[in-house]
């Protein structure tokens, strides 16, 4: 798609613009996507974003419209003679008060959004996310009020992308696809599996430098900072695969530590979690078994 990208982008523009105003919900970046995703979770800033955008568009039309009329009507070449006035208290009051009213309206909306975002209570599940240079670690802390036994893993850029992204690799990013969707730099070896329709609390920390955990479909990002435990929550409504990336510069491979969330129905999730717990047990047993014979010759 890189060659001839421009030509195709123009034809795709129409589709994109249609989607923009039709309000199609993208879960993951789509080619020529113009607007923010509506998201797949209960909490979403999409509506607030659209309101702010339209407020700006309307003000822009008024202000720029007035400017263009002025530029047309008051040109010296059309014989315009400059007037002398340079003040009008009435006008100045008007254009101070109207913006204030608009701002109060926007502030009201945004305060609501913040309040609901800040409320991490009543969660049914806790995930600990740790950012490392340049991978993520996920630990399942508890589920439905019960501690989870040793389920945690590292999640990092999947191998084909990693080979392709090497300088002058001559490999084609276009070819990296999962189910027809291009996943170059947006796929991992082991995704974070989460249940849908569950309020999930995240505890987010940084292991070395600051990172930022961001999945656009969940509607927010939160910095992963060494020494600080940040909290956030989500409640995913639709099963699916949601992709994101680290959003805070964290060194040379900052661009190469994607995030993949696989949201599945609760029953399926519980099954998956049970398997993981079993595997962890088996692994632990194997480890102890391994260490015992290793020590045996000495004993």
């Amino acid at each position: 798609m890189t060659s001839g990208g421009i030509g195709r982008s123009i034809s795709a523009w129409a589709a994109g613009a249609l989607a923009l105003f039709g309000g199609a919900a993208w879960a993951n970046p789509e080619p020529n996507q113009l607007n923010m995703t509506k998201g797949a979770a209960e909490w979403s800033p999409y509506a607030m974003h659209m309101v702010a955008l339209w407020v700006c568009v309307v003000i822009g039309i008024v202000v720029f419209g007035a400017m263009f009329i002025a530029m047309f009507r008051f040109r010296k070449s059309r014989g315009a003679v400059a007037e002398k006035w340079s003040h009008s208290t009435k006008l100045e009051v008007v254009w101070t008060v109207i913006p204030v009213i608009i701002l109060i309206f926007l502030a009201h909306l945004a305060t609501g959004g913040l309040t609901s975002f800040a409320d991490t209570t009543n969660s049914e599940m806790t995930i600990k996310v740790t950012g490392y240079q340049w991978k993520w670690r996920y630990d399942y802390v508890d589920y439905k009020g019960k501690g989870v036994d040793q389920v945690g893993f590292i999640s990092k850029l999947e191998e084909t992308s990693d080979r392709t992204r090497q300088l002058k690799s001559n490999l084609d990013p276009d070819k990296i696809k999962v189910d027809g969707y291009n996943t170059y730099l947006l796929d991992v070896d082991k995704p974070l599996v989460l249940p849908t329709n569950t309020k999930i609390r995240f505890v987010i920390v940084g292991g070395d430098v600051i990172h930022s955990w961001w999945v656009p479909a969940l509607g927010w990002k939160m910095d992963a900072i060494p020494g600080i435990a940040n909290a956030a929550w989500t409640n995913i409504k639709e099963p699916g695969v949601y992709r994101g990336q680290c959003a805070e510069l964290c060194g040379q491979d900052h661009g190469f530590m994607p995030i993949v969330v696989k949201a599945v129905p609760r029953a399926e999730f519980e099954q998956w979690l049970a398997t993981q717990e079993d595997e962890a047990k088996v692994q632990k047993a194997a480890q102890t078994a391994q260490t015992v014979p290793a020590q045996a010759p000495q004993g």
């Binding site: 890189t2 990208g5 421009i6 982008s9 993951n28 970046p29 789509e30 080619p31 020529n32 113009l34 923010m36 800033p45 607030m48 974003h49 202000v63 400017m67 002025a70 530029m71 040109r75 010296k76 315009a80 400059a82 007037e83 340079s86 003040h87 006008l91 254009w95 101070t96 913006p99 701002l103 926007l106 305060t111 800040a118 392709t164 992204r165 090497q166 300088l167 002058k168 690799s169 990013p173 276009d174 291009n182 170059y184 730099l185 987010i204 940084g206 430098v209 927010w220 990002k221 939160m222 900072i225 060494p226 020494g227 990336q245 959003a247 510069l249 060194g251 040379q252 491979d253 900052h254």
Partner: protein, 537 residues
């Protein structure tokens, strides 16, 4: 000392003959202004070259040209060079040239310090740029220098000392400007008759004095954390990485206004001139600048909505940030009202000013959207932010500087620039800059983080468009260089003292080019000759 003082008095009739005497030892505000402007134009091209590397790597998916670490060096250096090397010094250069001419002063209040403030700058930038040639490379942790990442870099000490030097230079420049404006005005040049440009610089200078020491403190703490075992920002030692961000942005947000208030001043001079009508609401304009400056101290954490602030703090910083839109709106409305009912012509300085008003406002719109904390959880650290600050900084600050250059070049050089080539430069720049930055809004909204060297194929088209706009915009600036060189050295068209029909203000009462010494005797002020002499409001 006494000898030097008398010496200064001697050559009142022309510039010193020797190159070294004239340029290196200069205490003349016009020559130092010229030095600043040449320096910042040079930095503009160096920083621009870094941007070309960035846009070339981002031209299509896959890594084609540079290693990711070098890419990070480029983004970091691009920002540092453009902010501290191009935008800020060019405003200081304009201040040096124009403030004494505008207030009827013979020179800056502290001419030798003026020389020092300039000559620190080349050394600061040699220090900074030299890191690119060292083993380990230049700083790569972003211009914001967040620890712990920035402390992993081997060249951080060089960067820190360079920042110290730039800070010293800025503070001295600011002191000089304040001293000049408050003490050196010709009798009759009341504060409320001063050009808006002078007002904007007076306020900016106070901002500089207030925040450059804060930056110096922040980077010094980085230095001691790295080399002297302190733990200001080291969580393992009881410090707090977020503390750095608070200190940095306490400097950083006023800093962005340091880069836009003088631009407001410039635009407020140019639009009345080419509308042939006094500025609308002079006092409101001055008051708006002052209130923006005040507010800029209480909004810093809007850069940190995603660090996990308590909800009360998020709400406070959100409301305070939104408030800034009110005085900013007043300025835009007043510029439009100045044009309304005027008799407009569209020479190059006016074209750049009109583009400024429109495109800066677009940057203000995205600023307003970014101010809404819940939405910023999505926008933050994406290309949407990159688009925002390039609209306010390139089509805002940089366009205003170009407008100022075209506006005052006749006064500086005594020659008219080529209007045709000026217009070609304008149209080429204004189209390409939108091709460059507008698609970045889409990229950010679609989910592309900033400061990444490579990206998913979904982002390919807009990146390619943006890169094409980038190369085109970069090339357009060579036209600017050509126009300036032609104007200064080759133009046959002499400039009148009052180079523009509608221009008012003391700077247009002196000959073009402005002689080496002006206003040895304070001018007699006639309010009608001032741009804002008769504004009761």
């Amino acid at each position: 000392m006494a000898h030097a003082a008398t010496h200064d008095h001697h050559d009142h009739h022309g510039a010193p003959k020797g190159f070294f005497q004239r340029w290196v030892m200069s205490t003349n505000h016009k020559d130092i202004g010229t030095l600043y402007l040449i320096f910042s134009l040079t930095m503009f091209f160096i920083g621009g070259a870094f941007a070309m590397v960035i846009r070339a790597e981002l031209f299509k998916p896959g890594m084609q040209l540079v290693q990711p670490y070098f890419f990070n060096e480029m983004t970091t250096m691009h920002a540092l060079v453009m902010i501290f090397g191009a935008i800020m010094p060019s405003f200081v250069g304009l201040a040096n040239w124009m403030i004494p001419l505008m207030v009827g002063a013979p020179d800056m209040a502290l001419p030798r310090m003026n020389n020092l403030s300039f000559w620190i700058m080349p050394f600061a930038f040699i220090l900074l740029l030299s890191t690119l040639f060292m083993p380990g490379g230049g700083p790569a942790g972003g211009w914001t220098m967040y620890p712990p990442l920035s402390l992993q870099g081997e060249s951080i000490a060089y960067t820190i000392f360079a920042v110290h030097l730039m800070g010293i230079s800025s503070i001295m420049g600011a002191i000089n400007i304040i001293a000049t404006i408050l003490n050196m005005r010709a009798p009759g040049m009341d504060l409320l008759k001063m050009p808006v440009f002078v007002w904007s610089w007076l306020i900016t200078a106070f901002l500089l004095i207030a925040v450059m020491p804060v930056l110096a403190g922040a980077v010094t703490m980085l230095l001691t954390d790295k080399y002297f075992h302190t733990n200001f920002f080291n969580a393992a030692g009881g410090g707090d990485p977020v503390l750095f961000q608070h200190i940095f942005w306490f400097f950083g947000h006023p800093e962005v206004y340091i880069m836009i208030l003088p631009a407001f001043g410039i635009i407020s001079e140019i639009i009345p001139t080419f509308s042939r009508k006094p500025i609308f609401g002079y006092r409101a304009m001055v008051f708006a600048i002052a209130s923006i400056a005040f507010l800029s101290f209480i909004v810093w954490a809007h850069h940190m909505f995603a660090v996990g602030l308590p909800m009360g703090a998020e709400i406070f910083f959100m409301y305070a940030t939104m408030l800034i839109a009110v005085p900013t709106g007043v300025k835009v409305f007043n510029w439009v009202s100045t044009m309304w009912g005027g008799s407009m012509t569209f020479e190059t300085p006016m074209l750049f000013s009109i583009a400024f008003v429109i495109l800066f406002t677009i940057g203000g719109f995205s600023g307003l959207m970014l101010a809404l904390a819940p939405a910023d959880f999505q926008y933050h650290d994406t290309y949407f932010v990159v688009a925002h600050f390039h609209y306010v900084l390139v089509t805002g600050a940089a366009f205003s500087i170009m407008a100022a250059a075209y506006y005052w070049l006749p006064k500086w050089s005594g020659n008219m620039y080529s209007e045709t080539w000026g217009k070609i430069h304008f149209w080429s720049s204004v189209i390409s800059v939108n091709v460059l930055f507008f698609p970045q809004h889409f990229l950010g909204l679609a989910g592309m983080p900033r400061r990444i060297p490579d990206y998913n194929v979904a982002f390919a088209n807009f990146n390619m468009i943006s890169s094409i706009g980038g190369f085109w915009f970069g090339a357009s600036q060579l036209i600017f260089l050509g126009v300036v060189i032609h104007c200064v050295f080759f133009s046959k068209k002499k400039a009148a003292d009052r180079s523009w029909e509608g221009a008012k203000g003391l700077e247009w009462t002196v000959p073009s080019p402005a002689p080496f010494h002006t206003f040895d005797v304070p001018p007699v002020i006639h309010d009608d000759e001032l741009a804002h002499g008769n504004t009761e409001h």
